[in-house]
Symmetry: C2
Subunit: 683 residues, 2 copies
C-alpha cells in the first residue's frame, strides 16, 4: 500500500516512528500506548490538495503526515491520560494535552487482569463453591466495563461454561457478581436479581439443575447436533476477474472512485467519494453505536455499551476469511494498530471488497413490439465485521451502478443474558431458555455523512408531499360546464404537491413517513440544467424508535445523539463523535447536542450553504425473540443515499444489457424450454 496519500492510515513504520518520538517525550516513564492513529489532515488543507489531484496536477499542497497518539502514564495522577499530535514529516510533537477526567477505551490486557483478580479472590471462590455447580463446569468471568450510574463504576459478572472451551457460556449466567477496583481488588460481591422483585442483596442460591441445557443452546459445530445436508453448494465465478481496480487504498469501480480509510475506532472509513469525477461526499463513516439495556434493576442500569467509543470497531474487526464472509473474487485490506508498548500490530483482512449481483437494475418491455430490454444490477460491497464480546456486527457499504450508496448493518452473534428463576417472567426481557433471560435493549447507530455535493457548501432541504387545498365545496360536478370545473385549481381533490424548506441552524430533526418527509443534501449553487432545481442527494432513512431512557438518565446524557434521527452541524475537524471522543465512563456533556448548544446563536451555528455534516441516527429496539437464541440470525438495517436531480438522467442507462452468453444460467427441467438467444430478452 502507498503510505503517502494523506488519507492513508498510518503505516507500520509511521506507527513505530510516532511511538519513538512520544517515548522521547517521557524519558523517565514507560507510557502505555492506547492509540497511535492517523490524525486526518484539516479539511482546509485537504481540499486544495484534492482539487489538484482530481485535476491531475501533482499537488504541492500535500498536508503533513500527522499521528494522533494517546498514552496512559504510570501512577494515578488525574493527568496521566495524555493525547499528543506528532508531525511525522518534521518528527516533532505539535500538540500535547492532558485529558483530565477522561478515560481511554477498554484495555483488553487490563480486562484480563481484572478477570484473573476476580476469579482468584478467595471470597469469590467461596461463593462459587456455595453454588454447587455441576461436575465439569468451568466458571468464566465476563468482565463488563459498566457505565456509571452515579454510584459506582466497574464490575463484572460470572458465567460458567460446560466442559468445552467453546461452549456457549451465555447459556449459563450465574447470579454471582463482583466489583473490582482500579487497582484490581474485589470491593463488592453480590447475587444478581433472579426474579422480577429480586434485589441484589439476596442470599446465594445453589445452581438450579433444571437450568442445564443440551445441544440446543450451543452454536459451536462440535457441540451441536449435525447440520442439515440439504443446502447444495453455490459458487460465484468471475471468469474475467473483478470489475474494480485498487492502487493502495484508492479504489475505482464502474464510475465510482474513493479512498478507503481505517482506524481503531470507526473501523472502515470512506473518503473523497466521487462519481464520474464529480464530488459527492468528503467522508462517510459509522461514528458511534450505543447499546443501552432496559432492565431497571441494580446493577443493570450501568449496562450500556458504546461499542465504538469504548471498544473500537477497528480493534475488534474480524480477520475475514476466504469463502466465509464473502463470495466471488475478494480483495482484502489490512489494518494496523499498536501494542501497549507502542509496537505496530497488523490487523489482517479487516476489510473485504467484492462484487455482488443485485437482481434487475432496470427493465422495459415495449408492449407494442414485445421487445424487452433488461440490465442487471452489479454492486460493489465494502464489508467489515466486528465482534464485541457476545455480539457481532456486519457493516457493509453497497455502491450501485445507479449512483446509489446503501449502508447495511447486520446484527448477529449471541444475546447478552442474565439469570432468572425458572417460572419467572419480567416485562423487560424474554426468557430464551430455562433460567436464561435476554433483557430488552436498543442498538442505536450514528452514521456520519460529510457531504461535498458538487462542492463543499451544501444545505439540508426538507421536502414534504401534501394534498393541495380543496377549493370546491363538492366533488360532484355533474351538470357543471368544463369551464366551471376548470375554474377550480383542484376540482376533483386529487392534486398533491411538494413543499420544501431549508434548514438554517444546527440541530436535531425527526422523520415523518406520513408526510413523505424527505431529507435532501443539496448544493444551492449548482442548478440542474433540466429540472431547474439544485443538485442533490436524498437520504433513505431507517425508521427507528429513538432512545427510550429518560432524558435525565445517564444513558441520555452520555449518548446525546440518540434522541433525533437526523442532525445537521457545521463541519469541524475534531468533531467526529456524537457522544464525544471519550465515552469510557463518561458522565455526559460531551456529545453532539452539547456542541450544538455551545455554538447556538453564533455564526458557527448557521448551516445553509455552508460546509455541513449530516448525522443519521438509526437502529433497533431489540426485544429478543427466542428465534435469536442461541445465536442470532442476522437482523438487517439499511440506510441509503440516492441522487435526487443531481444527474441529467439515469446514471445506469449505459449498463450493458443482460445476456445468457455472459450470465450462463442453467435451465431446470420443466417450464417453457426456450432456447436462449444472444439478446436473451427479446421475445
Amino acid at each position: 500500500m502507498s503510505p503517502n496519500h494523506p488519507f492513508d492510515p498510518l503505516a507500520s513504520r509511521e506507527i513505530s516512528k510516532a511511538a519513538a518520538i512520544v517515548r522521547r517525550e517521557f524519558p523517565a516513564q514507560t507510557p502505555n500506548f492506547r492509540v497511535i492513529t492517523l490524525k486526518e489532515p484539516a479539511k482546509a488543507q485537504m481540499v486544495p490538495f484534492l482539487d489538484d489531484q482530481n485535476r491531475g496536477i501533482n499537488s504541492s499542497k500535500r498536508p503533513a503526515r500527522t499521528a494522533r497518539v494517546q498514552v496512559v502514564l504510570p501512577g494515578d495522577s488525574a493527568a496521566r491520560f495524555v493525547e499528543l499530535w506528532v508531525d511525522l514529516d518534521r518528527a516533532v510533537i505539535i500538540k500535547k494535552e492532558h485529558l483530565v477526567g477522561k478515560h481511554p477505551y477498554i484495555d483488553s490486557d487490563y480486562m484480563q487482569a481484572v478477570e484473573k483478580a476476580c476469579i482468584e479472590d478467595p471470597r469469590i471462590q467461596e461463593q462459587i463453591a456455595s453454588l454447587e455447580l455441576p461436575a465439569g463446569a468451568t466458571v468464566i468471568v465476563e468482565a463488563w466495563a459498566y457505565a456509571t450510574d452515579g454510584l459506582n463504576d466497574m464490575s463484572q459478572r460470572t458465567t460458567m461454561a460446560m466442559d468445552d472451551v467453546d461452549a456457549n457460556y451465555y447459556a449459563y449466567p450465574l447470579d454471582l457478581c463482583a466489583e473490582i477496583s482500579e487497582d484490581l481488588k474485589v470491593t463488592k460481591i453480590y447475587q444478581l436479581p433472579s426474579g422480577v422483585d429480586d434485589r441484589i442483596n439476596d442470599k446465594p442460591k445453589p445452581f438450579d439443575r433444571r437450568k442445564i441445557h443440551g445441544a440446543e443452546a450451543e452454536y459451536s459445530p462440535g457441540l451441536r447436533s449435525s447440520p442439515r445436508a440439504t443446502t447444495k453448494p453455490y459458487q460465484v465465478i468471475q471468469p474475467e476477474g473483478p470489475s474494480f481496480k485498487t492502487q493502495g487504498n484508492f479504489l475505482e469501480w464502474e464510475k465510482w472512485s474513493m479512498h478507503i480509510g481505517f482506524n481503531y475506532r470507526e473501523g472502515l472509513t470512506l473518503h473523497d467519494i466521487r462519481y464520474e469525477g464529480r464530488s459527492l461526499f468528503y467522508r462517510i463513516s459509522l461514528a458511534e453505536m450505543f447499546v443501552p439495556y432496559g432492565d431497571p434493576r441494580t446493577p443493570y442500569p450501568r449496562k450500556a455499551a458504546f461499542d465504538l467509543g469504548n471498544d473500537g470497531a477497528g480493534i475488534n474487526a474480524n480477520n475475514l476469511r476466504l469463502g466465509c464472509d464473502c463470495l466471488g473474487h475478494i480483495k482484502y485490506f489490512d489494518g494496523w494498530h499498536t501494542t501497549t508498548s507502542g509496537d505496530p500490530v497488523k490487523l489482517p483482512n479487516v476489510i473485504c471488497c467484492h462484487e455482488e449481483d443485485d437482481g434487475i437494475l432496470w427493465k422495459h418491455t415495449n408492449f407494442r413490439t414485445q421487445n424487452a430490454v433488461v440490465a442487471r444490477s452489479r454492486i460493489l460491497v465494502l464489508q467489515t465485521i466486528i465482534t464485541v464480546s457476545n455480539y457481532e456486527y456486519i457493516f457493509a457499504f453497497h455502491f450501485g451502478q445507479d449512483a446509489s450508496i446503501h449502508y447495511e448493518v447486520r446484527a448477529t452473534g449471541i444475546l447478552s443474558t442474565t439469570p432468572i428463576n425458572i417460572g419467572d417472567n419480567v416485562p423487560y426481557g424474554t426468557v430464551v431458555a430455562p433460567g436464561v433471560l435476554a433483557p430488552y435493549h436498543q442498538h442505536l447507530f450514528s452514521l456520519r455523512i460529510d457531504p461535498a455535493i458538487d462542492g463543499h457548501n451544501n444545505s439540508l432541504q426538507i421536502e414534504e408531499s401534501y394534498p393541495m387545498p380543496i377549493d370546491t365545496p363538492t366533488f360532484d360536478h355533474t351538470g357543471k360546464t368544463q369551464a366551471q370545473v376548470d375554474s377550480y385549481a383542484n376540482p376533483f381533490g386529487v392534486g398533491y404537491a411538494t413543499r420544501s424548506s431549508i434548514v438554517d441552524h444546527e440541530g436535531g430533526l425527526d422523520l415523518d413517513f406520513t408526510k413523505n418527509r424527505t431529507f435532501k443534501i443539496i448544493n444551492e449553487n449548482v442548478i440542474n440544467p433540466v429540472t431547474g432545481t439544485p443538485v442533490g442527494f436524498k437520504l433513505l432513512p431507517a425508521y427507528s424508535q429513538m432512545l427510550l431512557a429518560h432524558p435525565e438518565s445517564y444513558h441520555a446524557k452520555r449518548s446525546e445523539f440518540a434522541t433525533h434521527a437526523v442532525w445537521v452541524t457545521r463541519h469541524n475537524d475534531e468533531e467526529h463523535f456524537p457522544s464525544g471522543r471519550h465515552t469510557m465512563q463518561s458522565v455526559g456533556g460531551d456529545g453532539i447536542a452539547t456542541a450544538i448548544g455551545s455554538r447556538s446563536g453564533t455564526e458557527e451555528s448557521l448551516v445553509r450553504n455552508k460546509d455541513i455534516v449530516v448525522w443519521h441516527t438509526f437502529g433497533s429496539t431489540h426485544n429478543p425473540r427466542i428465534e435469536d437464541w442461541p445465536v442470532m440470525p442476522s437482523e438487517k438495517m439499511t440506510v441509503g443515499l440516492k441522487p435526487a436531480n443531481f444527474f441529467t438522467g439515469n446514471p445506469g442507462l449505459d449498463v450493458a444489457l443482460s445476456t445468457q452468453e455472459s450470465n450462463r444460467s442453467v435451465l431446470v427441467d420443466g417450464g417453457d424450454d426456450t432456447k436462449p438467444k444472444s439478446d436473451c430478452c427479446k421475445l
Copy 2:
C-alpha cells in the same frame, strides 16, 4: 404439472371444458370470454383436505374443481357482463350472476380497436397535421382507460415515436387528446394543458422543435450510445444443482413447503405455506395495486390505474428468459389464460424459481478462543415481472433459512409523461427532459396475508415499547444506600418494557415507529413452551405515506384500502380484493372499508381468535427524480414476516458452516494471503 391438486391453476383442458359448458349456456350468442380461472375451493372444504394430506392420508375430502368464468354478451344490455361458476367434475354451472353496473378488466383487443378508431378519425388527422411534426415522426395513440371523475369516462392521448418502432415515445408526449365512446366514435378532441395555468380548451400549438431529444432519451439498445464495457461477467454455479424440489406446483426447499398458484389477476399466489410441516400461512398474494396521479388539471384527475384490477398481474406477466431475469439454476412455471373465444392460451415462464446467496446468516467469534463460526444465508426466490404499458413491476418472495419471508417489489420501466411548455414548472411534477413532465403519483400496494399460524384461529396483537414510569424525583442517588435506591422500581430512568393489546374488531390500523409499534399474528391457543407466550409471526412493514387524495375524491372512494397501513378482517372466501372485484370504471363502495362497515357490530366483525386476514398497504409517493429517466432504476420496497416466539430457537441454527471447499472464492492480490482452511473460519 399435476392438474389434480385443488390449488393448481386450471389446466388447458379444464379451460376448454369450462368454455364449452358456458357456450352451451348461451346457444344463441357468442360470448366474449374475459376470464376462465380457478375458483379456489372454499376454505371450509380445503382445510380438512389439507389436514389429511399433511398427515399423509389419501384424503376422501377433495373439493370439486371449479372454474370462475366471466363473459361479456353481445349487445348493450346492462346485464351483458356475466359471471358463472362451473363445476368441472360434474360439468354443471353452479352459479350464474349478471354483474349489472360492473365492467370487466381491460380488453386489449378492444383497446387496439380504440387506438385505430382514434388515429383514423379525420379530425384527429387534421389536428395532427396542425402540429407540424418533424419529418419521420410516427404518431402513436396511447390509450388509457381513464377512471371516472364523475363527468366522463374513457379517453386517450397521443404521443409520437421518432422513426424506430422501439423509440421511447414517452419522450414525445403531444398535447392532443381525444375521448372515444364505447362504440368507437371520437366524441371529444382537445389539447392537454401544457403549463401551470393551462386549460384543456387551449388552441393547438405547433410542435416545439426544442423538444426533440437525442440518445439520452432512449433506452432501446439500437438507439442509445454504446454501453459501458467495464462490468465483467458474473456467473452463479451450482455444481450439485438447486436445493429445491418441485412436483407440479408443489414446492419444497430446505424446511419449507408450499403450493404455487397463478391467476390472471394476482399473478403469483402462494398456498398452504409450512415450515417443518407446521402451518404458517393459508394464502399470501398481492391483492391490489393503485396508482393515482397528483396532477389536478383536467383531464388528469381521471388518471388512476388499478394495475391488478384493471390490467391483471397474471395477464401482463413477462415471459422470463434464461440469463436475464435471474442467475443460477432456474425453474420456470407457465400460466394459462384464455382468448376472447374461450380457447386456452399458454403464458410461458411467468414465474421463475431460483436460489440466491444472501450473505451471512449468523456468525460468532469466541473472543477467548478466537474460534469463529459462520453460516451463510441461502434464500429461495419466487419472482414474477409484469409490464403495465409504461411501467414494470418486479415481484419477488424471498424465503429464508431463518423461517423469514420477505416480499420485495421493484418498480422500474418508464415514467408516464405529459407535455409541458419549455421553461414552465408545476408543483406536482418533475421536468425530466425539455417539454416532458413526469407528474407526481403514488404506488400503493395491498399485500393480502391469510395466516394459519399453527391453525386457523389467529389474532392480531399490537405491541409497543414504552419507557417505564419514573418513580424517583431525581436520578442523583449519591449518598443514598443501596436499599434506598432499590426501593424504586426504575431508580435510574433506564427501564423500558413492552405492552400489547389484541384487536377485537375488523378495521384499519396505522404504523408508528416512534413507539416501535409491532403487529404480530399470534395463535392464542398455542403457547411457546419456553417463553410462555402465544406463538406468532410479526409483520416487518414498509413505512409509507398513505393516499394523498381527498377522502371524498373518487381516488379515495374507489381504492378504500389506501388509507391505513394494516387492515384486519374475518376470512371470507370471496373477499380477495380490497378495492372490490371489479375496479374498472368503478365509482366506489366496493372495497375493504365498505365490507367492514357492512359487518360492523355483528358477530362477523369479531377478529380475536378467529379465522382472520391481515392486509398490509405499502408503497411509495413517487415524485420522479430526473435519474428515473428515460428508464427508471429499480426502486425497491420490502415487507417481511418473521417468526416471533414461534419456534424454540433459531430455525437456522442447523445450517451447515461456510467452507472454502464449498464456496470456492478467489483471492484478489494483496491483503493477508491466508491459506484457506477446511473450516475456513477458524482463526
